[in-house]
Assembly symmetry: D2
């Protein structure tokens, strides 16, 4: 054995290419409710990273939970952290080793920074990486003038994609992942829960050739948005019996698939009951707490397949979005109901809480909407 | 062991429920070119069968081959046989044991009568049954006033489906089987060969959410029909380089899938060359003779999946058609270019041979189009 | 429209080919606990049916439930009915229309008599037919000297398959369906619950190339049988922590798949916790009542696929069993712990209730074991 | 827009950690037949790379082609290049940024260095990356004392895996990829062509639960090795009719799958003819030149699926190998017929050319076998 000369295992981060040293950002500054707009340092750009000027950013239900400092947030966030995990930006600088992008390109971003070393990552299942860090949750995110992201997390969003759409490809990808987890074409599909991702899913299922897309919710406002996303039928689950209505709409055949977006135990039970035998339910909505199910009647005797959806297939889902949006087959703009200055982040959160919004998109400082 | 009383293993066929004893039909009367319109007995209806009044029937390229008495026909047909394997009819009578239909219902028919006993049949692969008999080829078919079919081969075609469409669900099912043999939604798909089934496939791929549907043929007439079926782009393979044009249309990405409908060696080679690595080609078109392929360059190094398509998935494909047509997502009427009296069968064959027709539908005697 | 001569829609059942008019059978004679050995008429053989001399029959947990007259039995059975849904027999006579079998052949039987007309049946999913009738539950079964079955439900069981194995291909098929519902080869698989079907599943997973097969139960007796079925490791869930032990056995990787055979809420939760992200759980065991699950932690965040298993794929599962048994890859005899006269049905039930048996096989009157 | 300070896009390669400056290697020194043992510089280790001491290396048919300087080699190689794309090594040093390995670990290596940026790479299909560079072909390989590889290409090969087995996981992965491209468990599988990868495939199919594994070749020597790999039956294709023999062995059912390892047109045609309808053929063997096929009879009418296999699924195949080898289910040692000093590379090539060898493994200078 020859003596070994040690080699460095760390590549130092370079300083920012900008002369500007600080920027404005929406920061979770401390453990507790709320968030602040602060002046923070412009991020540095490390090996394999991109420095982006943020162009637009979407507000997510998770941001509401973080703002309200719910139990999940308390267990996960380590303030201070800049929020924002849905955004599109323009590339300002390339970190060392990045060759596949050029400055000036517009990119939308995958929020999951995965380890690339665990079994899930090594076998094409990065969406369930055991060591995932999330932009805007675990590391600084895109509610800011600038952000750095791993180049692997960037996906070109050319000018043909409207900028507010490019801003929300991350949650759109949740909808695509959920919808594409089973057959859609020529199928009867229900989307249970019409928050922004549910609304996107209505559009995705339509674009992907579902025979009938049925949307359900308990909010007339959201059901109206579902109609604008071209749902073939909507069910007000507060007033109508879901299973009965589905049977009517499908001539008694039932559903081939359910895209569960509500996290509601009742929606899940109703969805399972309305599935035809052998159907599938894909679960994206997060229940608030454990709940019980009549497994025999709703799952086993019916030969149902259930699939838990987290994140986006990396990066199959992005390729699919690219094709859906680039071809014009999918238009999610009816579900984007508000565009407002990032400065008004608190108002955006209030709007979300009120339930009278679809997707809300923020415009950073110094840019016009 | 107790002595065994023998039991009958054959159920006698009943006589026809019609007072009419004979009917007109297009009959391959003898080994050799041509076909005749003849007066033949009205068929009897056996156990498990339906007696149908034929409402409309489609003419297929196979009928042309049979008319011309090509080598395949010589090896397969045993004249006399009534031709016609694509048709829709009204149920006049139910054979013994049939409980799932009522008289008066309108049904389209699967042409493959399968044995239900071979390994393929027993494992959900009836489309490759080793003992298949085909209506209008091996047993009397639907170019006639009446026809009997096994009840298992009938699929309800309600009034919401236009009658000329219901007539050609059999070849439409070829298109659906081919298209649905791999991913379609958000994919770049080419259909090589725009005969009637290719034209149907253009519509199917569009309805099933393909991002871009590219149709190729060497006939301007057929390419025009492809445009009317909403192809996103058409390629005249006689004048344009297929691979170059596909690359342009797909921004260099290539095809995710090819639906091969021409049987042309060049189309198949071009299709493989234009596929992205890891893509799929589904083969329905029948080459006239064996031909060679550069397996390494076109299949192995690219990680391609090839799938040979025969018939229709029994009866998944019919359920898919039902949903595609019933929901209005798919309209194949632009591909049905001619409706003519069954009496003019010879003219229909001439029309097909001329290449200046899409799908031709025939109207039996005593009915108006 | 011509006048229609009515045709019969019912084929009369023929009388039995046996001179013997009555036979002994285990009959659920009335609503309430218990079952009786009775003299009943030898069944007649209808169109499409086979008359079998029963050679061996397996006793199932369901028979125990029927004997004890649990809530499910009360809702489902309509006494009197001859019990027994697992059996092998010799063909004594063929009903009208049966051509694919000959007398003297030995056949094992699928217990689900499906309608062949519903959507599930028409699309290759007969195992979830909405109109299933079960031999020995809804119609007279195989705890008798003779039984009639639809010819479609018979599967040849040649002499190379031991007769007690041929008797229990129905429950073995449950194990195969469950195991084959996801990847097995090169996978880490756990079987939770080592009743007879769980024990069979251990053997099936081994034969199908699972890298490690881990069996769990709370009964040392059953765990010992699991060892004899060649489980690589066993976990006594009453004494050991399932998740910890799995982690040790799999070098921290977790399970690729769980075959849930216990119906125990704790087994299901533990199984989900021990699955690697992206793994699958196939559910055959029937929980006694609804129970709750932490969906977020155990299913959604992990990207798990759950599949409810009922019956056997018709007849893919039977083909798979045929190959597994015929090739000698699978030997389930260690799980068949008792062979006893059918006359001792009550003793067999008592044995099952005691928990000190694997699979129990019964020998009809007049035959030696 | 702020002025941008340029950042470096290249990370400089560090010098070797070894004091030793040169090493011996098998080098393709110039365009033309042959190869030389040369003294060359010890490679430097760049960012994300590992420096390995080579422990064992396998000789591949491709090395024979390179040695003989066939047309493919002439088009692809740019001498001088160190040969060798199958090897196992011990980690001597970690390049900058590598955190997932430690020095002293033993790793086997994936030979395909993929770009991680093309569509194939981004969607989990790195095996068909459009920009693949191959170790020992496009960049310096492992027929040397030392080699550098990207850390992403290394897979831990613990001491429980025999060192000569760890040396040939790359070609073993070809066999696993081919075999696992379709169903194996309970299937009748043929392996056509019993070179080293074919021999491995026999073992893999057995380990993965194939019901019957049939091996064919024209060399009695190789068929004997196939027997030692536990083929259930062997067919000498030079003397026996493949299709007839398969029919006998499978009781007339035919093959569920063919693993084509020979590149022989006759083997491919025979394999297709012997497949049951609906079966699959996975193609790894490279035909010497284009050849023709009767597509209708052999592929389309039979509903066959063909799949072109290149490389290994990255890294699903490695995980599968890990489990197959680590669990002891698979033992490929009977197929490794020779272990010889790397100094005798020319003799190893001669041995391969003679056809009287299975897999040949080389031992680098300064190590004992």
């Amino acid at each position: 054995m020859n003596p070994i000369t040690p080699v460095p295992t760390e590549i130092p981060r370079t300083s920012s290419p900008l002369t500007q040293r600080t920027m404005r950002a929406v920061v979770k500054a401390q453990a507790g409710p709320g968030a602040e707009i602060r002046e923070v340092p412009v991020p540095t750009v490390g090996a394999g990273e991109l420095l982006l000027r943020v162009l637009r950013a979407g507000v997510c239900g998770t941001d509401l939970h973080i703002f309200e400092w719910d139990r999940w947030s308390q267990g996960r966030l380590r303030p201070p952290v800049t929020l924002g995990h849905e955004f599109v930006g323009e590339i300002l600088a390339l970190g060392p080793g990045v060759t596949e992008f050029r400055t000036g390109e517009r990119v939308s971003c995958e929020s999951h920074i995965v380890c690339n070393h665990c079994l899930a990552c090594r076998t094409g299942n990065g969406h369930v990486c055991q060591n995932t860090k999330i932009l805007g949750v675990d590391v600084d995110g895109g509610f800011a003038e600038y952000v750095t992201v791993p180049a692997t997390n960037a996906w070109r969003a050319p000018a043909s994609i409207p900028i507010q759409v490019a801003a929300v490809m991350e949650p759109l990808g949740n909808a695509v992942h959920t919808a594409f987890a089973g057959p859609l074409a020529a199928c009867n599909i229900a989307v249970t829960g019409c928050g922004p991702i549910g609304l996107f899913a209505v559009g995705v299922a339509r674009a992907a050739g579902a025979a009938r897309v049925i949307a359900s919710d308990v909010s007339p406002y959201r059901l109206d948005l579902a109609r604008r996303m071209n749902a073939d039928a909507v069910i007000d689950a507060a007033k109508e019996d879901f299973v009965t209505r589905v049977s009517e709409i499908t001539d008694g055949r039932g559903l081939d698939g359910v895209l569960e977006m509500s996290g509601s135990p009742q929606a899940m039970r109703d969805g399972l009951a309305a599935l035809r035998n052998g159907g599938r339910m894909s679960l994206l909505g997060l229940p608030k707490e454990p709940f019980e199910l009549d497994w025999n009647r709703l799952v086993i005797f019916k030969g149902i397949t259930l699939y838990g959806v987290i994140g986006r297939r990396m990066y199959d889902t992005w390729y699919q979005m690219d094709n859906l949006l680039g071809s014009g087959r999918l238009d999610i703009r009816p579900a984007i109901t508000h565009v407002m200055p990032m400065e008004q982040f608190a108002e955006a959160i209030a709007l979300l809480r009120s339930g009278s919004a679809g997707k809300v998109v923020l415009v950073p400082w110094g840019q016009s909407a």
